[in-house]
Symmetry: C2
Subunit: 546 residues, 2 copies
């Protein structure tokens, strides 16, 4: 069958998965669809309240019998149906399976008076890399359509054991190697706050879904910003844990087996509180007993407490940078970093300027790693169906591009290791000068606020952190504001990439777009960085006090 | 200069590094040189006692001012000088530098009344992969001779901070990829217990040195048995930690940058007590702040205590196997496993038969990984000087052998990951059946007792564990005994490799050779496996009670 036909068929199946009563009567014409759930008349006031609550509150209420999983799941299924129709963020929607599962959980609770686990009854949305037995994982590739999974990804299994309910799998860009979300199966996913903006990528479907509150905790993956960019573009929190903290086994992927820079999975949430609920719930399942790549490292409350202790005495020591030396962020992002810096200083924390160490070198190195097989893996997957490459990365999958040779790869490994260790030395040297430990670095995650379609060009703010395998939590900060974020007309670009990125800024077009920063810590510092991100969010006023 | 000349020059320099008064008057003719230190007249009774003590006792005495580092260092330098002359185990010997360092430490202690760290004053021997500023790291390659290191390996730096004294770097086989120790620079290192037996490899110089008590703690590396085999062949304890536990940065290596299976470093000691001293001392230096590959995981006393608790109540649950399904071990090894099994059963522990899972598949997979670049890296290093390949692996470095292609490598990564995760599943399934946690697996580490030269053929008992990245501690058990370890004449070999290995057994030739087992645990279980190894050693009567 022609690839276009297969894609049409899939789109029809997605549309058909939405019950008649949840379908839109008309397509809204506004740029933002954020107020649509209330306007639609499809959701009850209780359902709106549930979806605008927190995962932590919902599981608490379900554990006390104050809410049923069927009620909560129904609410999220409805809102996810709306998100699907309004932002085109969905590749698989299965409310019937979800409600059957919710009913089972409710019955179990009724019979035993006990929850099956810490996520009992909670709907969790999944990026379409996660395999759920009996469903499709197309990852937006036409050639993968119609193949039903015969087993669950390990994380799906463990979340299931913890009591989660699955109901939707969300869209990704073809190949996953792009920070926007567009593929030949369902086309483009848009930002629920403005259809002219990207929802980010590659976990862009999750970004749009959770941003719209069609999901309360979404799970994405990140090899070069793919959790953090959608979090930033949708005013959400996102965790890129270090490799080995959370299980990735039995997931679908592009360039599977590439291990020079690992893709990792992590949550996209509305609060650090919910992020912690997710991480502690997964770690309580001892994922290292299922996935050999997971480090046997349970949740370390002592690490989180170390930050709390500092908050109560003397304060944090935070580095920051607003430019990596390659591309200067747009004015809204510069203001975002400055807002966090001044907020933290005002609260008594020690904030100093961090000099990014060889980021350009790092970005070039990781770009070479992404292109390690000359695009062969992706090329072959496209060839199977005959679908074309999406324009965003078409130049990278020419089969005539050379592959890295084994000894060249080993050289890349050595360069990566040396760079990582040199970066650690930068920390040590700075700590010697400061006479104290550095708790985190505040940095841009993208050079732009939620970007206009097809304009995402510079991945370096995200990908340098992937090369370092540092832990990073995205914190939403503010919104682009044309009245203050003026274009710097006299700016002299650092290089061609910088020039391209600067040219994209238009105060009018970006007005109101979400602005975020990332909070970065050394490898495997999830507990600490989450605690710091929570405090920053609290001080900014966009995070509920724990 | 011809490679032979460079090698001669190096040998002359090693010989010259031994002070006249420590030189042998005559070459002993006996097979074993174990009693030579006492017979030589070179060492005092006090020096003999110090070298026959434990590292733990020595650091305690130095910390209480009951011994000086100069005295201890002198004793080990003398004994190392003897080991060098009797077993040919040394590539760098630098007693002057060591004694200057020891003097500094003694003065510091005298002035401050404090030790600089937990290893204050303790001599530690290093495999010749560790770089020490100002010295050579030839690793037995002629082409690397004469190049002085400009910086220390990270582990050397951290041990230095902990108070260690360095005095010797020991020999390795050319390329490191062999479990015996022979190179074109100094030739072959022999087993101090019998010059007809191998000292093992690739950390064979360490095995001979520590076995002879020219060292009390030696550090080796292991990518396919290279710590464990020399430990086994010299009646020593050896730890192969999981990757990421101890630092490897800035060390010399063959096939540097190959990361599909990581080489790791670890201690070779006379007791688990000394092993623990080493590991806790290194972890106390926070190696993860220096080497990006090290996991931020301090010493977990709670994990060691979990084993202690089990010893006090209910006992351990231990699997065992005496054959991996590929090669049946020689009779002394079968008896070694049986000795441990019956000892543990008698002590009330639950010991059950473990079925090795797809070990042949694992061994084939890892052999393909070792040969990933078709031997290019090693071939090029040999070509530089013109030295020939040692016979043990000459067939593996033909430059016409194909390299793995990038996409093939990714496929290997996936196979490795799947195999590792399937092995974890075997643990889970067995634990379900048993209704309790498995604490460790008892297994052979080699199919033979300390082997005759050039006869090491089958690496699978060691290398399957490397592929799994499991933690393993070698425990010395007993000695081959011609009166009980009879050749099984009627045995029908499983395959050609098995036939070759069986043919090698000769009760007479192996009489008295060290026999060991390895105690294996899941990834990053160092504290637990060390505690179990200690208990096994205690019950066997070859480990001092802590």
């Amino acid at each position: 069958m022609a690839w276009e036909k297969l894609a049409e068929d899939k789109k029809a199946r997605i549309a058909a998965s939405i019950p008649q009563i949840w379908r839109l009567k008309s397509t809204p014409t506004e740029d933002s669809v954020m107020d649509y759930p209330e306007k639609s008349g499809i959701m009850t006031a209780e359902e709106l309240a549930m979806t605008e609550s927190s995962a932590t509150d919902l599981v608490t209420k379900m554990a006390h019998g104050q809410l049923t999983s069927v009620a909560v799941t129904t609410a999220f299924c409805k809102r996810a149906a709306l998100a699907t129709q309004l932002t085109n963020c969905t590749l698989e929607f299965f409310p019937e399976m979800a409600l059957a599962r919710a009913k089972e959980l409710d019955e179990s609770f009724k019979n035993t008076g006990k929850v099956v686990g810490p996520l009992h009854g909670l709907p969790i949305s999944l990026k379409d890399q996660f395999r759920v037995k009996g469903l499709e994982t197309s990852m937006g590739y036409v050639s993968w359509l119609g193949k039903l999974d015969t087993e669950n990804s390990v994380l799906v299994d463990l979340l299931f054991k913890a009591g989660a309910v699955f109901y939707v799998k969300t869209s990704v860009p073809q190949s996953l190697m792009v920070c926007e979300t567009v593929n030949n199966v369902i086309g483009r996913t848009v930002n629920p706050r403005n259809k002219n903006w990207s929802c980010g990528g590659s976990s862009g479907g999750e970004g749009a879904m959770v941003g719209f509150r069609g999901g309360i905790i979404g799970i994405g993956t990140d090899i070069g910003g793919s959790i953090r960019v959608p979090s930033a573009f949708n005013f959400l929190y996102g965790l890129r844990p270090s490799h080995g903290r959370l299980p990735y086994a039995k997931m679908a992927n592009s360039m599977e087996g590439q291990e020079t820079v690992h893709s990792v999975c992590g949550p996209i949430t509305h609060s650090v509180k919910d992020m912690r609920l997710f991480v502690t719930s997964v770690l309580a399942q001892e994922p290292w007993k299922y996935d050999s790549k997971v480090i046997p490292m349970p949740w370390r409350q002592s690490e989180a407490d170390a930050i709390k202790t500092k908050l109560g005495s003397g304060g944090l020591t935070l580095g920051y940078y607003n430019c990596d030396g390659v591309v200067l962020p747009h004015p809204p992002i510069l203001r975002g970093v400055e807002t966090v810096v001044s907020t933290m200083k005002k609260a008594g924390h020690d904030v100093f300027q961090w000099t990014p160490y060889k980021h350009e070198y790092a970005v070039n190195l990781i770009n070479g790693i992404y292109a390690g097989d000359g695009g062969t893996d992706i090329y072959n997957t496209l060839k199977e169906s005959g679908e074309p490459a999406i324009p965003n990365f078409a130049d990278l999958i020419n089969p005539d591009l050379p592959k890295i040779d084994m000894n060249e790869l080993w050289d890349v490994h050595l360069k990566k290791w040396a760079f990582q260790s040199e970066y650690l030395e930068q920390f040590r040297l700075a700590e010697e000068t400061l006479g104290k430990e550095i708790d985190a670095i505040i940095a841009p995650i993208t050079p732009t606020a939620a970007i206009r379609h097809n304009q995402f060009k510079y991945y370096g703010y995200a990908s340098a952190i992937n090369l370092l395998d540092f832990t990073s939590v995205v914190v939403p900060v503010t919104w682009a504001d044309k009245s203050v974020d003026k274009k710097q007309e006299a700016y002299k670009a650092l290089n061609d990439m910088d020039k391209t990125v600067q040219a994209e800024y238009d105060p009018e077009a970006y007005h109101g777009a979400p602005v975020a920063v990332q909070i970065v810590g050394r490898r495997l510092t999830e507990e600490r960085i989450m605690a710091i991100a929570e405090e920053i969010g609290r001080l900014l006023g966009n995070e509920i006090t724990p």
